[in-house]
Symmetry: C2
Subunit: 304 residues, 2 copies
Protein backbone atom coordinates (compact mmCIF):
# COMPACT_ATOMS: atom_id res chain seq x y z
CA UNK A 1 0.00 0.00 0.00
CA UNK A 2 1.14 3.58 -0.57
CA UNK A 3 2.48 5.84 2.13
CA UNK A 4 1.82 9.55 2.40
CA UNK A 5 4.72 11.48 3.95
CA UNK A 6 4.82 15.10 4.94
CA UNK A 7 7.51 17.04 6.76
CA UNK A 8 10.30 19.47 6.09
CA UNK A 9 12.51 19.57 3.02
CA UNK A 10 15.67 21.59 3.30
CA UNK A 11 19.21 22.25 2.27
CA UNK A 12 21.57 21.41 5.12
CA UNK A 13 25.09 22.47 5.94
CA UNK A 14 26.66 19.94 8.26
CA UNK A 15 29.98 20.15 10.04
CA UNK A 16 31.56 17.25 11.90
CA UNK A 17 35.04 17.12 13.44
CA UNK A 18 36.18 15.35 10.25
CA UNK A 19 34.38 17.09 7.39
CA UNK A 20 32.04 19.86 6.32
CA UNK A 21 29.46 19.91 3.51
CA UNK A 22 27.04 22.54 2.26
CA UNK A 23 23.58 22.54 0.66
CA UNK A 24 23.05 18.83 1.22
CA UNK A 25 19.60 17.36 0.68
CA UNK A 26 17.97 17.39 4.10
CA UNK A 27 14.74 17.80 6.05
CA UNK A 28 12.65 15.23 7.88
CA UNK A 29 10.50 14.39 4.86
CA UNK A 30 13.50 13.91 2.55
CA UNK A 31 15.10 11.36 4.83
CA UNK A 32 11.81 9.64 5.61
CA UNK A 33 10.67 9.47 1.98
CA UNK A 34 13.91 8.00 0.62
CA UNK A 35 14.07 5.52 3.53
CA UNK A 36 10.45 4.47 3.00
CA UNK A 37 10.93 4.14 -0.76
CA UNK A 38 12.87 0.89 -0.22
CA UNK A 39 9.61 -0.66 0.94
CA UNK A 40 6.61 1.01 -0.66
CA UNK A 41 5.47 3.78 -3.06
CA UNK A 42 5.69 7.19 -1.39
CA UNK A 43 3.48 10.24 -1.94
CA UNK A 44 5.41 13.28 -0.74
CA UNK A 45 3.88 16.49 0.61
CA UNK A 46 6.27 19.39 1.07
CA UNK A 47 7.55 22.72 -0.13
CA UNK A 48 10.83 23.88 -1.65
CA UNK A 49 12.03 27.10 -3.18
CA UNK A 50 12.87 27.73 -6.82
CA UNK A 51 16.56 27.35 -5.89
CA UNK A 52 16.05 23.68 -5.04
CA UNK A 53 18.65 21.71 -7.03
CA UNK A 54 17.24 19.61 -9.85
CA UNK A 55 19.49 16.64 -8.97
CA UNK A 56 17.60 16.35 -5.69
CA UNK A 57 14.26 16.25 -7.52
CA UNK A 58 15.79 13.60 -9.77
CA UNK A 59 16.88 11.64 -6.70
CA UNK A 60 13.31 11.61 -5.36
CA UNK A 61 12.08 10.45 -8.77
CA UNK A 62 14.74 7.77 -9.01
CA UNK A 63 13.30 6.39 -5.78
CA UNK A 64 9.82 6.35 -7.30
CA UNK A 65 8.60 9.12 -5.01
CA UNK A 66 5.42 10.82 -6.23
CA UNK A 67 5.99 14.58 -6.27
CA UNK A 68 2.40 15.64 -7.06
CA UNK A 69 2.24 17.08 -3.53
CA UNK A 70 5.56 18.93 -3.71
CA UNK A 71 5.09 22.66 -4.08
CA UNK A 72 7.88 24.63 -5.71
CA UNK A 73 7.43 28.19 -4.50
CA UNK A 74 9.14 31.41 -5.49
CA UNK A 75 11.97 32.08 -3.05
CA UNK A 76 14.63 30.19 -1.14
CA UNK A 77 14.39 26.65 0.19
CA UNK A 78 14.42 26.04 3.97
CA UNK A 79 18.01 25.96 5.20
CA UNK A 80 19.58 24.49 8.33
CA UNK A 81 23.17 24.33 9.44
CA UNK A 82 24.58 22.44 12.38
CA UNK A 83 27.75 21.12 13.92
CA UNK A 84 28.46 17.84 15.70
CA UNK A 85 30.91 17.35 18.52
CA UNK A 86 33.44 14.53 18.62
CA UNK A 87 31.06 12.08 20.26
CA UNK A 88 28.59 12.60 17.36
CA UNK A 89 25.75 12.71 19.90
CA UNK A 90 25.81 16.39 20.76
CA UNK A 91 24.60 18.65 17.98
CA UNK A 92 24.56 22.43 17.88
CA UNK A 93 22.29 24.27 15.46
CA UNK A 94 24.28 27.09 13.89
CA UNK A 95 21.52 28.69 11.82
CA UNK A 96 17.99 28.19 10.55
CA UNK A 97 16.26 30.04 7.72
CA UNK A 98 12.63 28.98 7.18
CA UNK A 99 12.37 30.81 3.83
CA UNK A 100 9.49 29.34 1.73
CA UNK A 101 8.68 26.90 4.53
CA UNK A 102 6.96 29.80 6.33
CA UNK A 103 4.30 29.64 3.61
CA UNK A 104 3.78 25.87 3.87
CA UNK A 105 0.02 25.32 4.03
CA UNK A 106 -0.51 22.34 1.78
CA UNK A 107 -3.67 21.24 0.03
CA UNK A 108 -3.42 17.54 -0.72
CA UNK A 109 -3.74 16.45 -4.35
CA UNK A 110 -6.93 14.41 -4.88
CA UNK A 111 -4.87 11.28 -5.55
CA UNK A 112 -3.35 11.53 -2.03
CA UNK A 113 -6.57 11.80 -0.06
CA UNK A 114 -7.33 8.13 0.28
CA UNK A 115 -3.86 7.29 1.63
CA UNK A 116 -4.05 4.12 3.75
CA UNK A 117 -0.75 4.77 5.59
CA UNK A 118 0.43 8.20 6.69
CA UNK A 119 3.72 9.30 8.18
CA UNK A 120 3.79 12.78 9.66
CA UNK A 121 7.52 13.47 9.84
CA UNK A 122 8.85 16.13 12.15
CA UNK A 123 7.18 19.51 11.58
CA UNK A 124 4.87 21.49 13.90
CA UNK A 125 1.93 19.48 15.24
CA UNK A 126 -0.42 22.10 13.77
CA UNK A 127 0.92 21.39 10.27
CA UNK A 128 0.83 17.65 10.94
CA UNK A 129 -2.87 17.95 11.85
CA UNK A 130 -3.55 20.19 8.87
CA UNK A 131 -2.28 17.48 6.52
CA UNK A 132 -3.89 14.62 8.42
CA UNK A 133 -7.29 16.31 8.38
CA UNK A 134 -7.27 16.10 4.56
CA UNK A 135 -6.81 12.32 4.52
CA UNK A 136 -10.19 10.65 4.27
CA UNK A 137 -9.89 7.46 6.28
CA UNK A 138 -6.33 6.48 7.06
CA UNK A 139 -5.68 2.93 8.23
CA UNK A 140 -2.57 3.76 10.28
CA UNK A 141 -0.98 7.09 11.11
CA UNK A 142 2.58 7.41 12.45
CA UNK A 143 3.93 10.73 13.72
CA UNK A 144 7.37 11.92 14.75
CA UNK A 145 8.04 15.00 16.85
CA UNK A 146 10.89 16.88 18.54
CA UNK A 147 11.65 18.69 21.80
CA UNK A 148 10.89 22.10 20.26
CA UNK A 149 7.19 21.21 19.87
CA UNK A 150 6.99 19.89 23.43
CA UNK A 151 8.14 23.33 24.52
CA UNK A 152 6.25 25.70 22.23
CA UNK A 153 3.27 23.66 20.98
CA UNK A 154 2.46 21.20 23.75
CA UNK A 155 -1.32 21.62 23.51
CA UNK A 156 -1.33 21.03 19.75
CA UNK A 157 0.88 17.99 20.22
CA UNK A 158 -1.49 16.54 22.83
CA UNK A 159 -4.36 17.13 20.38
CA UNK A 160 -2.39 15.35 17.63
CA UNK A 161 -1.77 12.35 19.90
CA UNK A 162 -5.51 11.67 19.99
CA UNK A 163 -5.60 11.36 16.20
CA UNK A 164 -2.63 9.11 15.46
CA UNK A 165 -1.89 5.41 15.87
CA UNK A 166 1.83 5.52 16.67
CA UNK A 167 4.10 8.21 18.10
CA UNK A 168 7.85 8.05 17.57
CA UNK A 169 10.10 10.15 19.79
CA UNK A 170 13.47 9.93 21.46
CA UNK A 171 14.13 9.10 25.09
CA UNK A 172 14.69 12.62 26.37
CA UNK A 173 11.51 13.76 24.62
CA UNK A 174 9.53 10.89 26.16
CA UNK A 175 10.80 11.80 29.61
CA UNK A 176 10.04 15.48 29.02
CA UNK A 177 6.55 14.83 27.65
CA UNK A 178 5.55 12.74 30.67
CA UNK A 179 7.75 14.47 33.29
CA UNK A 180 8.86 10.96 34.22
CA UNK A 181 12.41 9.62 34.62
CA UNK A 182 11.50 5.96 33.94
CA UNK A 183 11.28 5.29 30.21
CA UNK A 184 8.98 2.35 30.90
CA UNK A 185 6.52 4.52 32.82
CA UNK A 186 6.87 7.30 30.25
CA UNK A 187 6.13 4.91 27.39
CA UNK A 188 3.10 3.43 29.09
CA UNK A 189 1.95 6.93 30.05
CA UNK A 190 2.05 8.17 26.45
CA UNK A 191 -0.24 5.28 25.43
CA UNK A 192 -2.87 6.79 27.71
CA UNK A 193 -2.70 10.07 25.76
CA UNK A 194 -4.07 8.49 22.61
CA UNK A 195 -1.75 6.51 20.36
CA UNK A 196 -2.03 2.71 20.28
CA UNK A 197 1.74 2.41 19.98
CA UNK A 198 4.73 4.42 21.13
CA UNK A 199 8.24 3.94 19.86
CA UNK A 200 11.01 5.43 22.01
CA UNK A 201 14.34 5.80 20.21
CA UNK A 202 17.38 5.41 22.48
CA UNK A 203 20.20 6.19 20.01
CA UNK A 204 23.12 3.83 20.61
CA UNK A 205 20.91 1.73 22.91
CA UNK A 206 18.26 0.77 20.36
CA UNK A 207 14.57 1.41 20.85
CA UNK A 208 11.49 0.35 22.78
CA UNK A 209 8.07 -0.24 21.26
CA UNK A 210 5.07 -0.07 23.59
CA UNK A 211 1.51 -1.12 22.87
CA UNK A 212 -1.40 -2.57 24.76
CA UNK A 213 -0.62 -5.99 23.30
CA UNK A 214 3.10 -5.48 22.80
CA UNK A 215 6.42 -4.63 24.41
CA UNK A 216 9.49 -4.94 22.23
CA UNK A 217 13.08 -4.03 23.01
CA UNK A 218 15.23 -3.71 19.88
CA UNK A 219 19.01 -3.46 20.00
CA UNK A 220 20.96 -0.81 18.15
CA UNK A 221 23.36 -1.65 15.37
CA UNK A 222 26.89 -1.60 16.80
CA UNK A 223 28.22 1.26 14.70
CA UNK A 224 31.89 2.01 15.15
CA UNK A 225 32.20 4.93 12.76
CA UNK A 226 29.46 7.48 12.34
CA UNK A 227 30.01 10.00 9.56
CA UNK A 228 26.83 12.07 9.84
CA UNK A 229 24.03 11.33 12.32
CA UNK A 230 21.70 13.85 10.64
CA UNK A 231 18.40 12.28 9.64
CA UNK A 232 18.94 8.94 11.40
CA UNK A 233 15.68 9.31 13.33
CA UNK A 234 13.79 10.37 10.19
CA UNK A 235 15.16 7.38 8.27
CA UNK A 236 14.17 5.08 11.13
CA UNK A 237 10.63 6.41 11.15
CA UNK A 238 10.31 6.49 7.35
CA UNK A 239 11.46 2.90 6.97
CA UNK A 240 9.27 1.85 9.93
CA UNK A 241 6.17 3.36 8.30
CA UNK A 242 7.27 2.19 4.85
CA UNK A 243 7.57 -1.42 6.01
CA UNK A 244 4.10 -1.30 7.59
CA UNK A 245 2.65 0.15 4.39
CA UNK A 246 4.40 -2.51 2.31
CA UNK A 247 2.85 -5.34 4.32
CA UNK A 248 -0.46 -3.54 4.80
CA UNK A 249 -0.51 -4.99 8.32
CA UNK A 250 -0.12 -3.55 11.80
CA UNK A 251 -0.10 -6.66 14.00
CA UNK A 252 2.61 -7.12 16.69
CA UNK A 253 4.84 -9.32 14.49
CA UNK A 254 4.80 -6.76 11.68
CA UNK A 255 5.40 -3.86 14.07
CA UNK A 256 8.47 -5.61 15.55
CA UNK A 257 9.89 -6.18 12.10
CA UNK A 258 9.12 -2.58 11.16
CA UNK A 259 11.25 -1.43 14.11
CA UNK A 260 14.13 -3.63 12.95
CA UNK A 261 13.87 -2.46 9.32
CA UNK A 262 13.76 1.12 10.59
CA UNK A 263 16.93 0.47 12.59
CA UNK A 264 18.60 -1.15 9.60
CA UNK A 265 18.01 1.80 7.25
CA UNK A 266 19.00 4.33 9.94
CA UNK A 267 22.20 2.40 10.62
CA UNK A 268 23.18 2.63 6.97
CA UNK A 269 22.23 6.28 6.66
CA UNK A 270 24.76 7.49 9.25
CA UNK A 271 27.61 5.90 7.30
CA UNK A 272 27.81 8.88 4.93
CA UNK A 273 26.75 12.52 4.78
CA UNK A 274 23.15 13.43 3.93
CA UNK A 275 21.44 10.66 1.96
CA UNK A 276 24.69 9.54 0.33
CA UNK A 277 24.65 6.00 1.65
CA UNK A 278 20.99 5.39 0.80
CA UNK A 279 21.70 6.23 -2.84
CA UNK A 280 23.74 3.03 -3.20
CA UNK A 281 21.76 0.90 -0.76
CA UNK A 282 20.30 -2.33 -2.16
CA UNK A 283 17.51 -4.64 -0.95
CA UNK A 284 20.21 -7.27 -0.33
CA UNK A 285 22.07 -4.85 1.98
CA UNK A 286 18.86 -4.37 3.93
CA UNK A 287 18.21 -8.10 4.26
CA UNK A 288 21.82 -8.76 5.31
CA UNK A 289 21.65 -6.29 8.14
CA UNK A 290 18.19 -7.52 9.17
CA UNK A 291 19.80 -10.95 9.62
CA UNK A 292 22.67 -9.36 11.53
CA UNK A 293 20.16 -7.80 13.92
CA UNK A 294 18.68 -11.26 14.50
CA UNK A 295 22.11 -12.66 15.13
CA UNK A 296 23.11 -10.08 17.73
CA UNK A 297 19.87 -10.21 19.68
CA UNK A 298 18.48 -13.74 19.57
CA UNK A 299 19.18 -16.49 22.06
CA UNK A 300 17.96 -20.06 22.37
CA UNK A 301 18.34 -22.74 24.98
CA UNK A 302 20.01 -25.85 23.67
CA UNK A 303 23.11 -27.04 21.85
CA UNK A 304 26.10 -24.93 20.96
CA UNK B 1 30.39 -27.96 37.88
CA UNK B 2 31.14 -26.00 41.03
CA UNK B 3 31.84 -22.29 41.10
CA UNK B 4 34.36 -20.59 43.37
CA UNK B 5 33.33 -17.06 44.32
CA UNK B 6 35.35 -14.50 46.22
CA UNK B 7 34.54 -10.88 46.98
CA UNK B 8 33.33 -8.68 49.79
CA UNK B 9 30.82 -9.64 52.47
CA UNK B 10 29.32 -6.83 54.44
CA UNK B 11 26.50 -5.38 56.44
CA UNK B 12 24.80 -2.60 54.50
CA UNK B 13 22.64 0.30 55.51
CA UNK B 14 20.60 1.46 52.55
CA UNK B 15 18.40 4.51 52.28
CA UNK B 16 16.06 5.16 49.39
CA UNK B 17 13.48 7.95 49.06
CA UNK B 18 10.87 5.45 50.26
CA UNK B 19 12.57 3.39 52.97
CA UNK B 20 15.68 2.82 55.06
CA UNK B 21 17.14 -0.44 56.40
CA UNK B 22 20.20 -1.24 58.50
CA UNK B 23 22.67 -4.13 58.76
CA UNK B 24 21.33 -5.86 55.67
CA UNK B 25 23.29 -8.75 54.19
CA UNK B 26 25.48 -7.18 51.50
CA UNK B 27 28.80 -7.28 49.71
CA UNK B 28 29.65 -8.35 46.18
CA UNK B 29 30.28 -11.99 47.14
CA UNK B 30 27.00 -12.32 49.07
CA UNK B 31 24.91 -11.17 46.11
CA UNK B 32 26.94 -13.17 43.61
CA UNK B 33 26.91 -16.37 45.67
CA UNK B 34 23.16 -16.40 46.33
CA UNK B 35 22.46 -15.52 42.68
CA UNK B 36 24.79 -18.29 41.44
CA UNK B 37 23.31 -20.82 43.86
CA UNK B 38 20.18 -21.07 41.70
CA UNK B 39 22.34 -22.72 39.05
CA UNK B 40 25.29 -24.53 40.60
CA UNK B 41 27.08 -25.42 43.87
CA UNK B 42 29.05 -22.43 45.17
CA UNK B 43 32.30 -22.43 47.16
CA UNK B 44 32.55 -19.08 48.93
CA UNK B 45 35.79 -17.31 49.90
CA UNK B 46 35.40 -14.32 52.18
CA UNK B 47 35.79 -12.83 55.62
CA UNK B 48 33.30 -11.61 58.24
CA UNK B 49 33.60 -10.43 61.84
CA UNK B 50 32.35 -12.23 64.92
CA UNK B 51 29.35 -9.88 64.91
CA UNK B 52 28.08 -11.38 61.63
CA UNK B 53 24.45 -12.43 62.21
CA UNK B 54 23.86 -16.18 62.34
CA UNK B 55 20.68 -15.89 60.18
CA UNK B 56 22.89 -14.70 57.31
CA UNK B 57 25.14 -17.76 57.68
CA UNK B 58 21.99 -19.88 57.71
CA UNK B 59 20.82 -18.16 54.53
CA UNK B 60 24.07 -19.06 52.76
CA UNK B 61 23.68 -22.66 53.96
CA UNK B 62 20.05 -22.81 52.87
CA UNK B 63 21.31 -21.97 49.37
CA UNK B 64 23.80 -24.85 49.57
CA UNK B 65 26.77 -22.47 49.65
CA UNK B 66 29.97 -24.13 50.92
CA UNK B 67 31.42 -21.98 53.71
CA UNK B 68 34.72 -23.84 54.14
CA UNK B 69 36.44 -20.75 52.71
CA UNK B 70 34.61 -18.24 54.91
CA UNK B 71 36.82 -16.87 57.66
CA UNK B 72 35.13 -15.59 60.81
CA UNK B 73 37.64 -13.18 62.36
CA UNK B 74 37.63 -11.37 65.69
CA UNK B 75 36.21 -7.89 65.19
CA UNK B 76 33.52 -6.16 63.20
CA UNK B 77 32.23 -7.12 59.77
CA UNK B 78 32.81 -4.76 56.81
CA UNK B 79 30.09 -2.11 56.75
CA UNK B 80 28.79 0.16 53.99
CA UNK B 81 26.01 2.70 53.99
CA UNK B 82 24.58 4.52 51.01
CA UNK B 83 21.67 6.55 49.82
CA UNK B 84 19.81 6.53 46.49
CA UNK B 85 18.21 9.52 44.82
CA UNK B 86 14.72 9.46 43.38
CA UNK B 87 15.83 8.17 39.99
CA UNK B 88 17.44 5.14 41.74
CA UNK B 89 20.45 5.51 39.43
CA UNK B 90 22.47 7.98 41.43
CA UNK B 91 23.96 6.55 44.60
CA UNK B 92 25.91 8.34 47.29
CA UNK B 93 28.14 6.41 49.66
CA UNK B 94 27.58 7.74 53.19
CA UNK B 95 30.17 5.67 55.03
CA UNK B 96 32.53 2.73 54.69
CA UNK B 97 34.24 0.80 57.49
CA UNK B 98 36.55 -1.96 56.24
CA UNK B 99 36.89 -3.54 59.72
CA UNK B 100 38.00 -7.21 59.42
CA UNK B 101 38.10 -6.88 55.63
CA UNK B 102 41.43 -5.07 56.03
CA UNK B 103 42.89 -8.41 57.13
CA UNK B 104 41.45 -10.38 54.20
CA UNK B 105 44.31 -12.47 52.82
CA UNK B 106 42.66 -15.81 52.13
CA UNK B 107 44.29 -19.20 51.80
CA UNK B 108 42.01 -21.46 49.78
CA UNK B 109 40.84 -24.71 51.41
CA UNK B 110 42.29 -27.74 49.58
CA UNK B 111 38.83 -28.71 48.33
CA UNK B 112 38.56 -25.35 46.49
CA UNK B 113 41.83 -25.50 44.60
CA UNK B 114 40.66 -27.49 41.61
CA UNK B 115 37.69 -25.18 40.94
CA UNK B 116 36.74 -25.39 37.25
CA UNK B 117 34.80 -22.09 37.24
CA UNK B 118 35.84 -18.99 39.18
CA UNK B 119 34.05 -15.71 39.72
CA UNK B 120 36.13 -12.89 41.15
CA UNK B 121 33.45 -10.52 42.40
CA UNK B 122 34.28 -6.87 43.00
CA UNK B 123 37.25 -6.44 45.36
CA UNK B 124 40.71 -5.03 44.63
CA UNK B 125 42.43 -6.61 41.61
CA UNK B 126 45.37 -7.52 43.88
CA UNK B 127 43.06 -9.63 46.07
CA UNK B 128 41.37 -11.09 42.99
CA UNK B 129 44.79 -12.19 41.69
CA UNK B 130 45.80 -13.51 45.12
CA UNK B 131 42.79 -15.86 45.12
CA UNK B 132 43.11 -16.80 41.46
CA UNK B 133 46.77 -17.73 41.86
CA UNK B 134 45.73 -20.46 44.29
CA UNK B 135 43.39 -22.15 41.79
CA UNK B 136 45.26 -24.91 39.99
CA UNK B 137 43.87 -24.94 36.47
CA UNK B 138 40.62 -23.06 36.11
CA UNK B 139 38.55 -23.70 33.00
CA UNK B 140 36.91 -20.26 32.92
CA UNK B 141 37.50 -17.19 35.08
CA UNK B 142 35.06 -14.27 35.24
CA UNK B 143 35.95 -11.02 37.03
CA UNK B 144 33.96 -7.95 37.97
CA UNK B 145 35.49 -4.59 38.86
CA UNK B 146 34.51 -1.01 39.69
CA UNK B 147 35.57 2.56 38.94
CA UNK B 148 37.58 2.79 42.17
CA UNK B 149 40.11 0.19 40.94
CA UNK B 150 40.43 1.90 37.56
CA UNK B 151 41.50 4.97 39.49
CA UNK B 152 43.73 3.59 42.25
CA UNK B 153 44.84 0.16 40.97
CA UNK B 154 44.92 0.45 37.20
CA UNK B 155 48.19 -1.44 36.75
CA UNK B 156 46.99 -4.37 38.87
CA UNK B 157 43.73 -4.43 36.97
CA UNK B 158 45.56 -4.55 33.62
CA UNK B 159 47.64 -7.44 35.00
CA UNK B 160 44.46 -9.23 36.09
CA UNK B 161 42.95 -8.83 32.60
CA UNK B 162 45.72 -11.03 31.18
CA UNK B 163 44.72 -13.86 33.50
CA UNK B 164 40.94 -14.00 33.15
CA UNK B 165 38.52 -15.18 30.46
CA UNK B 166 35.72 -12.67 30.89
CA UNK B 167 35.57 -9.15 32.34
CA UNK B 168 32.26 -7.67 33.48
CA UNK B 169 32.01 -3.91 33.96
CA UNK B 170 29.52 -1.12 33.47
CA UNK B 171 29.41 1.32 30.59
CA UNK B 172 31.06 4.27 32.33
CA UNK B 173 33.86 1.99 33.56
CA UNK B 174 34.39 0.59 30.05
CA UNK B 175 34.64 4.12 28.65
CA UNK B 176 37.01 5.16 31.43
CA UNK B 177 39.22 2.07 31.08
CA UNK B 178 39.70 2.62 27.33
CA UNK B 179 39.41 6.46 27.28
CA UNK B 180 36.90 5.93 24.48
CA UNK B 181 33.38 7.33 24.09
CA UNK B 182 32.09 4.56 21.79
CA UNK B 183 31.05 1.51 23.80
CA UNK B 184 31.59 -0.66 20.73
CA UNK B 185 35.18 0.51 20.37
CA UNK B 186 35.72 0.28 24.14
CA UNK B 187 34.42 -3.30 24.24
CA UNK B 188 36.57 -4.40 21.33
CA UNK B 189 39.54 -2.58 22.84
CA UNK B 190 39.24 -4.41 26.17
CA UNK B 191 39.39 -7.73 24.30
CA UNK B 192 42.88 -6.75 23.20
CA UNK B 193 43.95 -6.36 26.84
CA UNK B 194 43.53 -10.07 27.55
CA UNK B 195 40.05 -11.42 28.24
CA UNK B 196 38.33 -13.54 25.58
CA UNK B 197 34.99 -11.96 26.46
CA UNK B 198 33.84 -8.61 27.80
CA UNK B 199 30.38 -7.92 29.15
CA UNK B 200 29.38 -4.26 29.39
CA UNK B 201 26.40 -3.62 31.66
CA UNK B 202 24.23 -0.68 30.57
CA UNK B 203 21.71 -0.57 33.45
CA UNK B 204 18.24 0.16 32.10
CA UNK B 205 19.53 -0.40 28.54
CA UNK B 206 20.62 -4.04 28.97
CA UNK B 207 24.11 -5.26 28.22
CA UNK B 208 26.56 -6.02 25.44
CA UNK B 209 28.72 -9.13 25.25
CA UNK B 210 31.83 -8.98 23.08
CA UNK B 211 34.07 -11.83 22.01
CA UNK B 212 36.17 -12.74 19.02
CA UNK B 213 33.41 -15.07 17.80
CA UNK B 214 30.49 -13.25 19.38
CA UNK B 215 28.56 -10.00 19.65
CA UNK B 216 25.36 -10.08 21.64
CA UNK B 217 23.05 -7.24 22.60
CA UNK B 218 20.70 -8.16 25.44
CA UNK B 219 17.74 -6.01 26.44
CA UNK B 220 17.05 -4.98 30.01
CA UNK B 221 13.97 -6.10 31.88
CA UNK B 222 11.42 -3.27 31.77
CA UNK B 223 11.29 -2.62 35.52
CA UNK B 224 8.77 -0.03 36.60
CA UNK B 225 9.44 -0.06 40.33
CA UNK B 226 12.89 -0.50 41.74
CA UNK B 227 13.06 -0.88 45.50
CA UNK B 228 16.81 -1.29 46.01
CA UNK B 229 19.33 -1.38 43.16
CA UNK B 230 22.14 -2.49 45.51
CA UNK B 231 23.81 -5.65 44.29
CA UNK B 232 22.09 -5.82 40.89
CA UNK B 233 25.42 -5.96 39.08
CA UNK B 234 26.77 -8.59 41.50
CA UNK B 235 23.65 -10.73 41.03
CA UNK B 236 23.98 -10.40 37.25
CA UNK B 237 27.58 -11.53 37.33
CA UNK B 238 26.98 -14.30 39.88
CA UNK B 239 24.10 -15.78 37.91
CA UNK B 240 26.06 -15.37 34.65
CA UNK B 241 29.01 -17.34 36.07
CA UNK B 242 26.67 -19.77 37.84
CA UNK B 243 24.86 -20.62 34.62
CA UNK B 244 28.16 -21.22 32.80
CA UNK B 245 29.34 -23.48 35.64
CA UNK B 246 26.02 -25.36 35.59
CA UNK B 247 26.33 -26.16 31.90
CA UNK B 248 30.11 -26.64 32.06
CA UNK B 249 30.25 -24.95 28.65
CA UNK B 250 31.50 -21.59 27.39
CA UNK B 251 30.41 -21.60 23.74
CA UNK B 252 28.60 -18.57 22.24
CA UNK B 253 25.09 -20.04 22.71
CA UNK B 254 25.76 -20.75 26.39
CA UNK B 255 27.33 -17.32 26.94
CA UNK B 256 24.26 -15.60 25.45
CA UNK B 257 21.98 -17.55 27.72
CA UNK B 258 24.22 -16.80 30.70
CA UNK B 259 23.76 -13.08 29.99
CA UNK B 260 19.98 -13.51 29.95
CA UNK B 261 19.94 -15.58 33.15
CA UNK B 262 22.15 -12.97 34.77
CA UNK B 263 19.70 -10.27 33.70
CA UNK B 264 16.77 -12.30 35.00
CA UNK B 265 18.20 -12.77 38.49
CA UNK B 266 19.33 -9.13 38.68
CA UNK B 267 15.86 -7.97 37.64
CA UNK B 268 14.29 -9.89 40.50
CA UNK B 269 16.87 -8.75 43.03
CA UNK B 270 16.02 -5.06 42.73
CA UNK B 271 12.39 -5.75 43.61
CA UNK B 272 13.18 -5.81 47.35
CA UNK B 273 15.88 -4.63 49.75
CA UNK B 274 19.11 -6.61 50.08
CA UNK B 275 18.65 -10.25 49.08
CA UNK B 276 14.99 -10.29 50.17
CA UNK B 277 13.53 -11.16 46.80
CA UNK B 278 16.04 -13.93 46.08
CA UNK B 279 15.02 -15.69 49.29
CA UNK B 280 11.61 -16.50 47.79
CA UNK B 281 12.74 -16.87 44.18
CA UNK B 282 11.95 -20.22 42.53
CA UNK B 283 13.35 -21.96 39.43
CA UNK B 284 9.92 -21.47 37.84
CA UNK B 285 10.18 -17.70 38.40
CA UNK B 286 13.54 -17.74 36.65
CA UNK B 287 12.24 -19.71 33.67
CA UNK B 288 9.18 -17.46 33.37
CA UNK B 289 11.27 -14.34 33.13
CA UNK B 290 13.73 -16.01 30.76
CA UNK B 291 10.75 -16.60 28.44
CA UNK B 292 9.65 -13.00 28.93
CA UNK B 293 13.11 -11.83 27.81
CA UNK B 294 12.69 -13.93 24.67
CA UNK B 295 9.28 -12.43 24.08
CA UNK B 296 10.41 -8.81 24.33
CA UNK B 297 13.49 -9.19 22.16
CA UNK B 298 12.79 -11.74 19.43
CA UNK B 299 11.39 -11.01 16.01
CA UNK B 300 10.64 -13.20 13.01
CA UNK B 301 9.57 -12.55 9.47
CA UNK B 302 6.26 -14.15 8.58
CA UNK B 303 2.69 -14.46 9.77
CA UNK B 304 1.14 -12.53 12.61
Amino acid sequence: MSLLITGSIGLDSVKTPLAEHHDLLGGSASYAAIAASFFTPVNLVGIVGDDFPKPYLDLYRKHGINLAGLEIAAGQTFRWSGEYEWNMNNRRTLSIALNVFEKFNPTLPAQYRNAPFVFLANISPQLQMHVLSQVEKPKFVVADTMDLWLEIAREALLELLKRIDCLILNESEARELMKEASLIKAGRGILKLGPKYVCIKKGEHGCLLFGEDLFFSAPAYPLEDIHDPTGAGDCFAGAFAGYLAKTGKVDPTTLRNAVIYGSVVASYNVEAFSLGRLQTLTPADIENRYQFFRKISHFELGGA
